[in-house]
């Protein structure tokens, strides 16, 4: 009777272990599937992020290039228009040289009178991209038909 009880108990244990084994295998299968899904979504996320990162890098590269160009670029036409508009009627320009490196403008020509030359100096100095236009003393001695050569400069920061 005792041996019969032991046999039944061990049979039950075997049954329980077999059932547990089946359940564990099923659980493992489900977990493995879940793990695979997670890995797949991670791969997709990484791919999307990599693509976005590449796009951002390209955008940054172009912005960086444009920013560098903007630092050395000078839009000349608005300044030239203002400069020419500042020339009084009694002044004829023969040469004009504009340099963005030192922010200077060299003008030479003929002024009908000394007042025209002084008006030129004043109108040029009124421009926001010019600070000073010194007139050489030698050019102030003549009263009419003054051949002048001026250098207008902007004080660089």
């Amino acid at each position: 009777m005792y041996w019969q009880f032991l046999k039944t108990s061990i049979e039950s244990l075997l049954g329980i272990i077999c059932l547990s084994g089946i359940m564990l295998l099923g659980a493992e299968w489900v977990l493995q599937g879940y793990f695979n899904d997670l890995s797949a979504s991670l791969t997709i996320t990484n791919k999307i992020q990599a693509a976005k990162n590449l796009q951002i890098k390209q955008v940054n590269r172009v912005v960086h290039n444009i920013s560098a160009l903007q630092q050395i670029y000078t839009p000349w036409t608005p300044r030239l228009s203002e400069l020419i508009a500042a020339i009084p009627p009694g002044v004829i320009l023969n040469e004009l040289s504009a340099n963005s490196g030192d922010g200077s403008y060299r003008l030479s020509g003929v002024a009908a009178t000394r007042d025209d030359l002084l008006t030129l100096q004043n109108t040029l100095e009124a421009l926001n991209f010019i600070d000073s236009v010194p007139i050489p003393l030698a050019q102030l001695t003549a009263r009419e038909d003054i051949s002048f050569s001026l250098t207008a400069t902007k004080e660089l920061p």
Binding site: L25, A68, L69, L80, S81, S97
Partner: protein, 193 residues
């Protein structure tokens, strides 16, 4: 040899115990071990995904803006020239000069500079990149020169002009007196990466 009932029972108990141990060793223990490992990996993966999700949430606005920005940035990408596009550019400049009634003499040079990270040399107002130098010797009226320069400024490429030299030979107030304009314009070539 005939076994007694007790012996038969003992053998059966032994077989069942062996079977139980076999199932435990071959199936149950490895399955439990695998499940524990998977559980650990899934936890790590979940933490990682959680972080990624938070990052993605933070970057979501940027990512949405990037598509829009990419379209806009494509227009700016033409700020430089591609190597080999010089003939195209020469033709465009000739057309521009003709349209602005400018008599133009053009010289083009290419300066090759080894690829390096972009650096602005503020003093000389240059970049350490390969570039085309277009040397212009233009003749025409002042308004036409200005029109030509405006057209250059409106072009997608950045024409970097450091110096402009205007010269009028005649001492005359005549509006139509021809003016000579000399300048060098630099257009940079971006590395193709």
């Amino acid at each position: 040899m005939k076994l007694s009932f007790k012996q038969q029972l003992l053998v059966l108990i032994g077989v069942i115990t062996a079977l139980t141990l076999l199932v435990a060793v071959v199936i149950v223990i490895p399955a439990v071990r695998t499940i524990l490992e998977l559980g650990q990996e899934i936890s790590q993966l979940q933490v990682f995904l959680e972080r990624q999700y938070q990052k993605t949430q933070q970057l979501r606005r940027s990512a949405q803006a990037v598509d829009e920005l990419t379209l806009q940035i494509k227009r700016l990408d033409g700020a430089g020239m591609k190597k080999g596009d010089e003939l195209d550019m020469i033709k465009r400049l000739e057309e521009l000069a003709a349209a602005s009634h400018i008599e133009q003499t053009l010289v083009v040079n290419f300066t090759e500079i080894p690829a390096a990270p972009l650096l602005v040399e503020a003093k000389s107002q240059t970049l350490n990149q390969s570039h085309y130098t277009f040397s212009f010797l233009n003749q025409g009226r002042f308004d036409d020169h200005l029109r030509f320069l405006r057209a250059l400024e409106a072009a997608p490429e950045y024409f970097i002009i450091r110096q402009l030299n205007w010269e009028k030979r005649q001492h005359s107030a005549a509006v139509a007196a021809p003016i000579t304009l000399r300048f060098d314009a630099i257009v940079y070539v971006w590395p193709s990466n």
